[in-house]
Amino acid sequence: MKIQVLGPGCAKCTKLLETAAAAAKELGLDYEMEKIADINQIMSFGVMMTPGLVVDGEVKSVGKVPSLDEMKKFLR
């Protein structure tokens, strides 16, 4: 599974990254995590507000940090 976190590196982006890592660990997933900070690359996903979460190429969340439970649903 490929998890991509979109954001310039501010507090919410960091929190989202941590939540995604925690959820993936709890689910025992084999995953690859990528942090994308380049604005043009972020916008290439069609995302207009960060932080963003992309799982296997699909944008799951935009503009907020999902809870751990929400994150687990996104990763299942």
């Binding site: 954001g7 310039p8 501010c10 507090a11 919410k12 604005i39 043009n40 972020i42 916008m43 290439s44 996903f45 069609g46 995302v47 207009m48 507000m49 960060t50 932080p51 963003g52 992309v54 699909e58 944008v59 799951k60 969340s61 935009v62 503009g63 907020k64």
Partner: protein
């Protein structure tokens, strides 16, 4: 090339979602006028134009961004209302709607000029 115009905002600091503008961008002159007005509004920072085709195609980033929008404006050139209907089919019903034919722009006879674009923008600003 980006998929849309404008900047991507950060939600840190309690920033609200974007004000998203969709234009029918149809092939008729009124579609072109709607498109040009939406682009100008974006350049002026009044909102962010997004690709209506991304809604039709269920492009996840565009759909998710629209879900968190502070407001959604659909600009249609004619009474076919393609932009509004496309959004409605995708589940977006909280949409402000501007139809250029209601403003006196007649399909096939509308001039796309700085003046007509400014006229559309002045009406669109009411919804943004």
């Amino acid at each position: 090339m980006s998929t849309m115009q404008g900047e991507c905002g950060c939600s840190c600091g309690g920033n609200a979602g974007p004000k998203i503008i969709f234009s029918c961008s149809g092939c008729a002159d009124v579609g072109e006028l709607a498109d040009q007005a939406a682009r100008k509004l974006t350049r002026d920072g009044a909102g962010k134009m997004a690709c209506l085709a991304g809604i039709s195609g269920r492009v996840s980033g565009i759909v998710k961004s629209t879900e968190i929008a502070q407001s959604i404006l659909a600009i249609d050139g004619c009474p076919l209302d393609c932009a509004r209907k496309t959004l409605e089919i995708a589940g977006f019903t909280r949409v402000n709607h501007l139809r250029l034919s209601d403003l006196g722009f007649e399909k096939g006879k509308a001039e796309v000029s700085a003046s007509s674009i400014a006229s559309v923008i002045s009406k669109a600003m009411i919804y943004l």
